[in-house]
């Protein structure tokens, strides 16, 4: 019951702020991030639009950003990240662990 209610609230809240956010894009390509360094303003929410242009599935994972997103080949999705303090926050592709990237908040 609580779960259903909370889910409904989340669904209602999502489109409300999805449009006006600072947005950066990221491409995942079979173990490569393009770009591997994303610059974002510190202290504000922002959105990363992620596209998997590779031939294999990819998972954008970042514990510092508290995000995990699986993308099938060709899929596009996004994550909305909470305001960050200035600093560097790592992310990686859990399906191709050699792929590392950072978000730099200034």
């Amino acid at each position: 019951m609580f779960a259903a209610l909370a889910a409904a609230l989340v669904l209602l809240a999502m489109p409300a702020y999805a449009d006006e956010l600072h947005t950066v894009s990221l491409e995942m390509n079979d173990g490569k991030f393009v770009p591997a360094r994303l610059e974002v303003p510190a202290g504000v929410k922002f959105k990363i639009v992620i596209r998997n242009v590779g031939k294999t599935a990819a998972e954008f994972e970042s514990l510092p950003l508290r995000k995990e997103k699986v993308l099938a080949p060709g899929a596009e999705s996004f994550v909305v990240v909470h305001p960050l303090r200035p600093g560097e926050y790592g992310f990686f592709d859990d399906f191709h662990q050699e792929a590392q990237g950072i978000v730099v908040a200034k």
Binding site: A3, A13, R66, H82, G87, Y89, F91, F92, D94
Partner: protein, 273 residues
Amino acid sequence: MGQVLFVVWRESVEALLVIGILFTWIVGRPDSRRWLPYLWGGVGLGLAGAVALGMLILFAGEAMSESAQTLFQTVLMLLACALIVQMVVWMRRHGRTLKQEMHTALADEVGRSHGWGVLLLAAIAVAREGSETVVFLYGIGQHLVLFEFVLATVAGLALAGVTFVLLQLGGRYVSWRWFFRVTEILLLLLGAAMLMSAVDNLLSLDILPAIVDPLWDSSAFINDGTAMGGLVASFTGYRAYPALTSLLIYLAYWVLVLGLLRMPRATRTPVGA
């Protein structure tokens, strides 16, 4: 992948322990031939029950939208964490007398000549471990590539078989006590890690407030933004940039767990109270 392996390994050893106790007891009886089909029937039924639960969870999750899916997974992670704690506490209290308890139950069933009772006993034991495995795996492994997932599961089962044989050989290499002690600690750590992932989800869904975010930055020590650091995090719940809420919940978890484990058995009120 390591987590999947560990969960399958530990849960299978526990299921094997129960089946092993039932098996040796039945085999020791003159009319064992009559009872063994019930035992294997029970094992099969328990496995089928666990698989059915797995399918149910999988399809329920797939039918949902993305944020509902995140929430569903979060709820299952919390359930898995509670199950882990309950299981460790239960094994602490019953582990030593498990064999005796099962023998008494078996003697009762055989005394009444109820083969179905033996079947049910085996089915419940296997279904219990099996459905725990299913819930744990959904909590940690749903993003794994299918091939890796199957590989880890099969390896975990094989490893469980080897461990079980070694433990049965009379503890020349490893002892049950040692096995349970070490895996208990690992399980509780895994429970903490699941709890932290669940809290992360609740924080990003704005269901929980972060209060202070982040509380500190220990990424220079272990950076959880890398694959290696992520591995440490997924086994312990470590965070390089923890929110105050996460820290408080993490501490509360360990206080609760240690409290439950220290509570002596004698002071427990009888079942039903």
